[in-house]
């Protein structure tokens, strides 16, 4: 067993220029094809030689996938739209600010300049063991290295773990779930639409995948319905460094208020489970409530019910609670100055 984690192994490269061409290619190559969007996730695997491919289908030449357009009901965003374009988009900032904010906090400027919305929501988990190529459940093996008494699992899941304790690392995913987004997927000539909340797969359903995408599938666009346009949004990402780092916990929320009362809410937390978690119990508790200290505290408590910390990630419990409180409150505890 030799060890070297450098130099990308050769592959052949396809660069379709239309969605039809891409869908055809992916259907034809099946699980041999590696879909490359911005490449930020792909290069890590390929350069480490931990995962390999002989066939890469690079989507960057498909201009029809890079667009933000207003539809009759909201927006349709091409999956290859860069995170920078989303963060700077006037219409997204105006109507769906939570997504712009989330996109603007991903990684670093250069990564946002080429990372895409589709790539960001579909990215693989960042569990250190998994990324190092250890043969865990997610890699097709039969154990989890992160959930042991000696493992260092500071960044792992506190909720809905099922043999695997990896988390969803995306910042835009919780925002999309909060916006009731719809994911449009092509397979060959067929198209299907999946609600954002259903796009992500937990280990109880399929321990080897983060999303519902199967070989041959192509995520083409993300539809944001008008429903939450102009709502009171909140997004916060908590991480160690201010650049590059993945979220330790993030929260995205959309709240519709009227006369001081909450009509309806979406509260979604990322990096605490393998999928972005829509907190239904919290949302139910908010309906019809005034935004006051009681409501805020109750939301936080409900959010963390059932949380099961590991040896090193206990902080995620109060952190998740406090972020949910902030989302409901609309910000940090206010000061006087």
């Amino acid at each position: 067993m030799a060890v070297v984690h450098d130099v990308i192994p050769p592959f052949q490269l396809f660069q379709p220029t239309t969605v039809d061409e891409a869908a055809e290619l992916l259907e034809a190559h099946g699980d041999e094809a590696w879909v490359m969007a911005g490449g930020m996730d792909s290069f890590d695997w390929l350069k480490d030689r931990t995962k390999r491919t002989e066939t890469v289908v690079e989507l960057g030449q498909i201009s029809e996938l890079q667009s933000i357009r207003e539809t009759g009901d909201g927006l349709e965003i091409g999956a290859m739209t860069t995170l920078t374009d989303i963060a700077e988009s006037a219409v997204i900032n105006e109507r769906f600010g939570v997504l712009a904010k989330a996109a603007g906090l991903v990684a670093s400027p250069q990564i946002r300049n080429q990372g895409t919305l589709g790539g960001n929501v579909s990215q693989d988990t960042r569990c250190a063991y998994y990324r190092l190529g250890w043969t865990c459940y997610r890699a097709g093996g039969n154990t989890c290295y992160a959930d042991t008494p000696t493992a260092v699992n500071r960044e792992h899941a506190i909720l809905h773990a099922s043999r695997c304790v990896a988390v969803s690392p995306s910042d835009t995913a919780p925002a999309l779930v909060a916006l009731d987004a719809q994911m449009v997927i092509r397979h060959g000539r067929r198209e299907r639409v999946v609600a954002a909340a259903d796009y992500f797969v937990g280990p109880n359903l399929d321990i080897t995948r983060m999303t519902v995408l199967e070989p041959g599938d192509l995520l083409t666009s993300i539809r944001i319905p008008a429903k939450w346009s102009g709502a009171r949004f909140y997004f916060e990402k908590v991480r160690d460094r201010e650049v590059w780092d993945f979220p330790l916990v993030n929260v995205a929320s959309a709240i519709r208020e009227s006369g001081g009362r909450i009509e309806e809410a979406r509260v979604v937390v990322g990096a605490v489970a393998a999928r972005p978690l829509r907190l239904l119990a919290v949302e139910e508790s908010l309906a019809g409530q005034l935004v006051n200290a009681q409501t805020v505290v109750r939301a936080g408590e409900l959010a963390i019910e059932g949380a099961r910390p590991l040896r090193f990630n206990g902080y995620k419990v109060p952190l998740m609670r406090n972020l949910v409180q902030r989302a409901v409150r609309g910000g940090p505890i206010a000061g006087t100055a």
Binding site: D6, I8, P9, P10, F11, Q12, L13, F14, Q15, L25, M36, G39, M40, F43, D44, L46, K47, V56, E58, G60, Q61, T84, A107, S108, P109, Q110, I111, N113, Q114, E242, V243, W244
Partner: protein, 215 residues
Amino acid sequence: MAQGDPQATSSEPKGVSRRTFIKGVIAGGVGVSSAAYLFRNSSLLTGRAARTGSVERLVTLNVNGQARRVDVAPHETLANTLRYKLGLTGTKLGCDRAECGSCTVLVDDVPRYSCSVLTHAVRTRSIQTVEGLAAADGTLHPVQQGVIEEQGFQCAYCMSGFLMSAVGFLKKNPNPTREELAHGVSGNLCRCQDYDKILTALERGAELSREVARG
């Protein structure tokens, strides 16, 4: 004999025809030059002919305003093409994993980590590296001039990446506050941690850029 020239004993690598070596630009400076590259189109590597639909290897890249004809493998990154095939070693490899910024170049005026860009993905775009900042007559770009005036950077391994990030950022934000400028170049790491002096130098560069723009 120029310093650094080796003994002339290199034997011909087996199994590769001369035709597949493409001579690039001889690197300037202390007299070493090279015709050897990181990647070769040898049968060893692919073992088969290119499949229908996969890319044509010989491309013409637009680099620093010049048309550069070069053989690019499908899996080749822009950093490798620039450094090893075009002799443009100003762009550095600090991590090769998009987390240090030393390899930053401008692709259509947008800062990108060249280590994480397939050359084929940007083969029709305009690419600018640090070597392309100065004018044809050698006059430094105002951002470079700002660095000179403020003695910016220490070991300077991160410098070309910072310069390209700054130039790209200033195109969209020509009059940033220091805070905005820091965010603009936040994707660049400096291990000498010269951040404070770097920002001062880039602020000066921004000021000089505005002066030039005013004419």
